[in-house]
């Protein structure tokens, strides 16, 4: 009976994907509420200032923006790809100068009612530009010049975002770009070389961070970035030649730094199979999960704590539906441009989901990146919904109407 409903030829939009999307937004609403309405101050705030209401507002704005994106044929969008790309690169440059500083990073434009995070939109512009650039015939894509040019297209926003610094957001550009290149038909050996090169560089980088003897040249990282990596690999903060007092101090520092990860893990772990029930999780209520992060980057641990393994699987299933319907859209796209756009969006969403959930269960180091559609945040919600609009756009215009 589902075949009729699911059959894409019956409808202009991918209903299955829309259903999963709505499911995620409902979850987001419920758990942003659960994560924030824990203090008296939050409960007594006027309704329009309550974070979950704001989240709904951003959902609505995002859905509006996605609809607009759907209405414009993606070929029209692609014509503006380079303009959008350079515009976003300009914004990334401006944010380094005029942006406001929070948690030691310059990532936001403070617009009063809303902090705009340009990197969220730069990712989309990059997908559009990369897809547009590589949508040329496959023979051309095989040439090394195009390969290096597309690498350049990827590196430019990467460097700007790194500079903010926002390692997480910068890193997701790489799998996204690589996926688009792969789907576009870039020869495998290039990609293998590239992958190998990146891998070796990353390995050298880690070895340098973790094991470099004192006095050696080390890659300059922000302290917090270095510490996050050390926390992830369970290495000592203290240099090898540190005095015992320093080592104790470093251990103490390490304990505080690994606090968030530990608390997130405790939240997820204590959820068990079925969880403690909605709004019953005490990790947020007691403030062990930092109030600033619970509804943001750590929203998944709130869901996992309150709904358990079953809840986590539901979330993963919803993402899975979106990702695979996305790939299906890529398969049905009318042309290479549509296919590459769809692949880019899927790769971007997947990177976010994997890194974010992975950091909640400590299989990837902590990097401050949001969980698409669930985490609170105007830029993230807007960006994610626009990305979904792009997918649907490719679907809608799969046939030349």
């Amino acid at each position: 009976m589902f075949s009729g409903f699911l059959s894409e030829s019956q409808s202009r939009i991918d209903k299955l994907q829309i259903a999963a999307l709505c499911g995620l937004m409902l979850l987001g609403m419920a758990f942003v509420y659960s994560a924030t309405m824990v203090t008296e101050a939050a409960n007594s705030a006027p309704w329009y200032n309550q974070i979950w209401v704001r989240q709904i507002f951003w959902y609505l704005v995002g859905l509006g923006a996605a609809t607009v994106v759907c209405l414009i044929n993606y070929h029209t969008l692609a014509r503006w790809a380079l303009v959008l790309y350079w515009g976003n690169v300009l914004l990334l440059a401006l944010v380094l100068v005029f942006g406001s500083v929070r948690f030691g990073a310059r990532r936001w434009f403070d617009l009063g009612f809303f902090s705009l995070q340009p990197s969220e939109f730069a990712k989309l512009a990059f997908i559009l530009a990369q897809a547009h650039f590589l949508s040329r015939p496959e023979e051309e894509v095989r040439s090394p010049i195009i390969f290096w040019q597309s690498i350049g297209l990827m590196i430019l926003p990467f460097l700007f975002i790194m500079k903010e610094p926002d390692l997480g957001s910068a890193l997701v550009l790489i799998p996204t770009g690589l996926a688009i290149m792969f789907a576009a038909g870039t020869p495998k050996r290039y990609l293998l070389w590239l992958g190998g090169g990146v891998g070796i560089l990353a390995a050298l980088f880690l070895v340098d961070i973790l094991f470099a003897p004192p006095g050696w040249w080390t890659i300059k990282l922000e302290d917090y970035q270095r510490q996050r990596l050390l926390v992830y690999f369970g290495a000592s903060f203290a240099p090898r030649n540190a005095s015992p007092a320093d080592k104790i101090k470093a251990a103490e520092q390490e304990r505080t730094k690994s606090y968030q990860v530990r608390q997130a893990l405790i939240s997820v772990g204590t959820g068990g199979l079925l969880g403690k029930g909605w709004h019953q999780g005490n990790q947020t209520a007691l403030g062990f999960l930092p109030p600033g992060a619970a509804h943001n980057d750590f929203i998944f641990s709130v869901i996992a704590e309150e709904k358990g393994f079953v809840g986590s699987i539901v979330v993963l299933t919803l993402y899975g539906v979106i990702l695979f319907t996305g790939l299906r859209i890529a398969g049905h796209a009318r042309d290479r441009l549509g296919k590459l756009m769809a692949v880019g969006v899927v790769a971007l969403l997947f990177s976010h989901v994997f890194i974010n959930i992975g950091m909640n269960i400590r299989i990837v180091p902590v990097t401050g990146i949001p969980l698409p559609l669930l985490s609170y945040g105007g830029s993230s919600v807007l960006g994610s919904l626009i990305a979904m609009g792009m997918l649907q756009n490719v679907y809608i215009y799969r046939k030349a109407y």
Binding site: F182, A183, L265, I266, G272, A304, L316, L323, G331, I363
Partner: protein
Amino acid sequence: MLIFDQLKKNDPQLRILAVLLLCGLFVLVAGLWWVQIVSSRDYQAHLDMQSFRTVRIPAVRGKILDRNGVALAENHPTYNVNLYLDELRKPFEDACSKEISRARAILKQQAEEKQRQLKRKLNKEERKQFTLSLRDRGALKQKARFDVASNVVAEISRRLGQPFSLDPINFQKHYEQSLALPLPIATNLTSRQIAVFSEQCTEQVGVDLSVQSTRFYPFGTTAGHLLGHLQKDDSSAEGEDAYFSYRLTDYRGVLGIEAGYDKELRGKAGVKSVVVNNLGYRQTENIWEAAQPGQNIVLTIDREVQRKAETALQVYGPVTRGACVVMDVQTGDILVMASSPTVNPNDSIQGYSDAEIERLRDPKLRPEINRATQDNYAPGSIFKTITGLACLEAGLDPNAMIYNPGYYQFSNKRSKPVKDLAAPGQYDFKKALMKSSNTYFIENGLKVGIEAIIRLGQRLHLGERIGLPTRQEAPGIFPNERTLRAGWYDGDTANICIGQGKMAVTPLQMAVMISAIANGGKVLWPRLVDRIETIDPTSTAPPVIFEKGRVRDNLGVRQRSLQIVREAMLADVEEGGTGSKAFIEGLDIGGKTGTAQVMDAHNRTIADTVWFASFAPYERPRWAVIVMIETDVNAGSGGSTCAPIAKKIYQALLDRERGTTNHVERVAQAH
């Protein structure tokens, strides 16, 4: 699956991407399964450790009652004012941020000053001097918190009209170590302060009254030794959880009944769990396990008589050193057990004054000793009752006369003669006991031999502990076969015959001895505790009742011999003997006085121990009354010092008897 079917038609790249996606999702599922299902219990343990604190709540201690149900040790509520830091969290935060922003403003001003001086912008290194370090911030916060708390304390002090102070070091210590618990700022409020507080201070944030159950001995020094005292001790008793985050003040009995029945009195401590937030502030709390109150101990002591006996005992005022014991000769019940100088068990709770500590340390007074059971004394002439019994059993004719020249001369002429305070003349048994003739008892005692006396002493279990629950017991000293073998002379036997030399007893042992003479030869176990009662009214467990009149041994002498001794003791009081000062109209008392010399290492007399051992009524004996006083040499005697005390005690017993019967009649009429 639909999606894959459709992908198959398409290019291989998409298929590879789909496989990668699937792998990624699978990794996440596997990770989540590991964390949420496999290691869930470990994380739960982590969570409990960081967000729960357990508090040990001591149980309410059982009461100690006298035989009529009068509480000798009970608990009364004391009221404390507590500071609840979790309620002050908001003011703390406000004060902290104010303090920090003020410090920042000052630093900023200083930085600008410096810039003007240098006429240039400060570089990064220089700017560092003008920023707050983490340590500075910590110190500022600490100060801000203390200011808030001490303001609250000052406000409470003003309202209650008593200056309470808050020590910054203590406050910080409490903040760091026991944040989840309230901080007491004022203890033991007066009733007026309680009223003022409940009227005026309830709207004050962060403070509240708390009630604490405090041990209280309503009659102060009465039976102080017997009750014993407590010591602060919050460790876990057997069968309790060993680990608690916090423990509330609790006490443990270390002496007397409080120690002997500590387990029963103490009850079972409860557990309270406090949920704390990430900073350690209290969030909610609930009782996991309620404390089970301790049981009541009902003593055989009669509070009224005990009090009168204690007053009577202090013939030399509070520095009197002595003891008295009243025992029911049929049941073994100890009605009175008094020792002087007295101690006040309330001091163990409320604290000892310097003067009191000084007094307790006095090597001569030794107030902490329970003289009724805890020290050895030579019984002196009161032991002649037993020497007499041994002689009578060996066939002594009580009417046979012996001449007393005023001393006793051993057959071995080199030995020093023993002085006899009884006037020279002819003595039969009755007169010898009445006048306490040393010559008579030494001469007859040497005839029957030490073994006969030792046999009786062993049946009385002299030289052995009774096993009192009070942990205040000396065994006394008494010769046995082994001591005899080690070298024994007639002089030693002579000394034993008159209750001196190589023997020592406690007043309680003498009470047992006199009871045995009075009740026809039964050597009883003294009985201090009548029963253990459960406080819980819903409990169906029957109270533990200790058996009355348990016989430990039997003297194994003829009733006729006992009768002769009793007659002689009656004569001692009623026919102008040494104990005549105990005489009471309407109560026939049989008594025996005693004066024992306390010798130092050079055989010089340094003090006397004077005794009066008695029983009454003569016809149907009920009570044995033993009085013992330590005096200076020749400062007193059993007859002049102790017999009047015994008289007062008998008077008290008679009053009590009448009072109780009157009371019973009144109750009967009322019904």
